[in-house]
């Protein structure tokens, strides 16, 4: 089973839910938690395991071979991403813009653009008893999160047996990084806040899940602030409300310090346990 925790709006509690869910479930059986918010990964503040390994992640980019090049400009013509530009006497490659499609390289009549690897980030693996934590982290300056998200998922697939539960902590938003983090999941938990911003972005996230034909449910975090519009929306649209996490200033304070909320705040622990119970009822969890 693969569960992705996503949200349209940022800062609604994806990491809080992912880490606490993974932690509590790992007390019974093994769990893999993968932080796919590679631009700003934060799960590692709450899961403090032993570091097992670290792996650099590369993407393939073309490298200009001045000696072989006859400046025909075919590379610039085939590149749809403006990553290869032909100047009067030189070919420029913009590493960050390259999507590693290989077209410029393989279609170069002179073989003057061989592909080489280029570091974009790293994947680190940690272990805390039954909890296996894999974190993808993009190098600052890199613009494309998608290849690293894919590598991080592949890393988990290659290193662990497929029958272990996987929990993916997704990036915010509704664009391509979110798609990458959700497209292979069996179930999506959308976490939101009971506020106008939370509701607005929840609706966008729901549209994405419907488009992807994913089974999903909703968790409301910071329940007690704002209004009841999110609950009403879920009722009207027949969306399964998996649970609610109460709003508490002391939760914000514990979060600030990097404390696992289910360890330090009993009300939060029981809210997460209730979410687990409901996920079992609808057979998302065994």
């Amino acid at each position: 089973m693969k569960i992705t925790i996503a949200s349209g709006k940022g800062g609604t509690g994806k990491t809080t839910l992912a880490t606490n869910l993974a932690y509590l479930l790992s007390q019974k059986s093994p769990v893999i938690l993968a932080d796919l918010d590679v631009e700003e990964p934060n799960s590692g503040f709450f899961i403090k395991g032993k570091k097992i390994q670290e792996k650099k992640v590369f993407k393939m980019i073309p490298e200009w071979d001045k000696e072989k090049c006859v400046l025909c400009g075919n590379c610039q013509r085939v590149c749809k991403f403006n990553a290869v530009i032909k100047l009067r006497e030189e070919i420029l490659v913009f590493n960050q813009l390259c999507h590693s499609c290989f077209a410029c390289s393989e279609l170069c009549p002179q073989n003057a653009l061989p592909m080489k690897s280029y570091e974009v980030g790293k994947i680190t693996e940690f272990e805390q008893n039954n909890l296996h934590f894999v974190e993808g982290k993009l190098n600052v300056g890199e613009e494309q999160a998608v290849p690293l998200i894919k590598e991080t998922i592949d890393f988990a697939n290659q290193n662990y047996s497929s029958d272990i539960l996987r929990i993916f902590d997704a990036p915010p938003g509704t664009s391509c990084p979110v798609i990458e983090a959700t497209k292979d999941a069996d179930y999506i938990i959308l976490i939101t806040e009971p506020t106008p911003f939370g509701l607005h972005d929840l609706k966008l996230a729901v549209e994405v899940m419907i488009e992807l034909k994913k089974d999903f449910g909703v968790v409301i975090n910071r329940f007690g602030i704002g209004n009841n519009d999110v609950i009403k929306y879920c009722e009207d649209e027949n969306i399964f409300l998996i649970g609610k996490i109460p709003n508490m200033k002391k939760a914000a304070e514990a979060y600030a310090k990097g404390e696992l909320l289910s360890e330090s705040i009993p009300e939060i622990k029981s809210a997460i346990l209730n979410i687990i119970k409901n996920l079992k009822l609808c057979e998302v969890l065994a």
């Binding site: 800062g11 631009e39 290989f102 077209a103 993009l138 915010p172 200033k249 914000a252 990097g258």
Partner: protein, 291 residues
């Protein structure tokens, strides 16, 4: 004219609430650009009239004309994204996987593959409740190219600001450090980092500041909910000093932010004025810093 970009690294630190309040204080003297195009929320507070709307086309997807296809399989061979699938006897594009690189179309001997430009969203020019102009957008579901849509929103905002000789462009950015953020920083004059004193908020702010440094831009910092961890707030302030980031202001943990939002209001239009005073001072400081 000064272009001020508000970003945070981490999501949910209060960027949009604070930017919208600045928009109220700047009044008609600013053009507003909502560049958080994949989860744009500022319109909920500023009530734009969506006066003008246009489709946004960017990027491509491959389409195979089955009538022309000779089933040679070359497209599948060259595709690095598993976007060509052979079902029964025919080759098909899996849209979700297609990056739009056009390699398959380039090598197709039967010229059976077309690269079709994608409608990935809409952008709008609106009048908001201060009578100022706002440029905003809505990215299509699951679309990529959010960086290009951000560039478009910023360009339109700049045109309006230049034509109507406004002093400010206020840009609400998106979380993270990826392409939409990079795109929102390009051409900016000043960056405001809105952060919170949590380990993750501080960590994310440092990462996005590294990006700001790549652009050699001056920056200032606003600490939201400074009182949930005064120790980390102190660390953020010394980080700012060490890196010549202007300390603009700090806000207490206050549910007035949410209460105002629930009524579709900015913080300067709501409450007992405590937050409003901090905002007025902040905006004054920003005006001086960008002068």
């Amino acid at each position: 004219m000064k272009e001020i970009v508000i970003i945070s690294g981490k999501g949910g630190t209060g960027k949009t609430s604070i930017t919208a309040a600045f928009a109220m204080l700047a009044g008609k003297n600013a053009v507003i650009a909502d560049c958080d195009v994949d989860a744009a929320d500022m319109h909920l507070l500023l009530q734009p009239d969506f006066a003008r709307s246009e489709d946004f086309y960017s990027g491509y997807k491959a389409e195979i004309d089955q009538a022309l296809c000779t089933k040679c399989g070359k497209c599948k061979q060259v595709c690095r994204f598993d976007a060509v699938q052979k079902i029964n006897d025919s080759y098909n594009i899996i849209n979700l996987n297609c990056e739009g690189c056009g390699y398959c179309a380039e090598v197709c001997p039967a010229k059976a593959i077309q690269m079709v430009e994608q409608n990935v969203g809409k952008w709008y020019i609106s009048k908001i409740k201060t009578d100022a102009q706002m440029v905003h957008a809505k990215l299509g579901i699951g679309a990529d190219n959010s960086g290009k849509l951000v560039a478009k929103v910023k360009k339109e905002a700049k045109n309006i600001a230049q034509e109507s000789t406004k002093d400010f462009i206020l840009v609400d950015g998106s979380p993270g450090i990826g392409c939409p953020v990079v795109s929102s920083l390009s051409g900016a004059d000043y960056v405001i980092l809105v952060t919170e004193p949590t380990l993750s908020g501080f960590h994310d702010m440092k990462r996005v500041f590294e990006l700001v440094q790549n652009f050699h831009l001056p920056a200032g910092c606003i600490i939201n909910k400074y009182d949930i961890n005064k120790n980390i707030s102190k660390k953020i302030k010394s980080f700012c000093r060490e890196n010549s980031i202007d300390h603009i202001s700090e806000f207490p943990y206050d549910e007035t932010f949410t209460k105002a939002m629930t009524q579709g209001k900015t913080i300067v239009e709501f409450g007992d004025g405590k937050l409003k005073n901090i905002l007025v001072d902040s905006w004054e400081k920003i005006r001086l810093l960008t002068d």
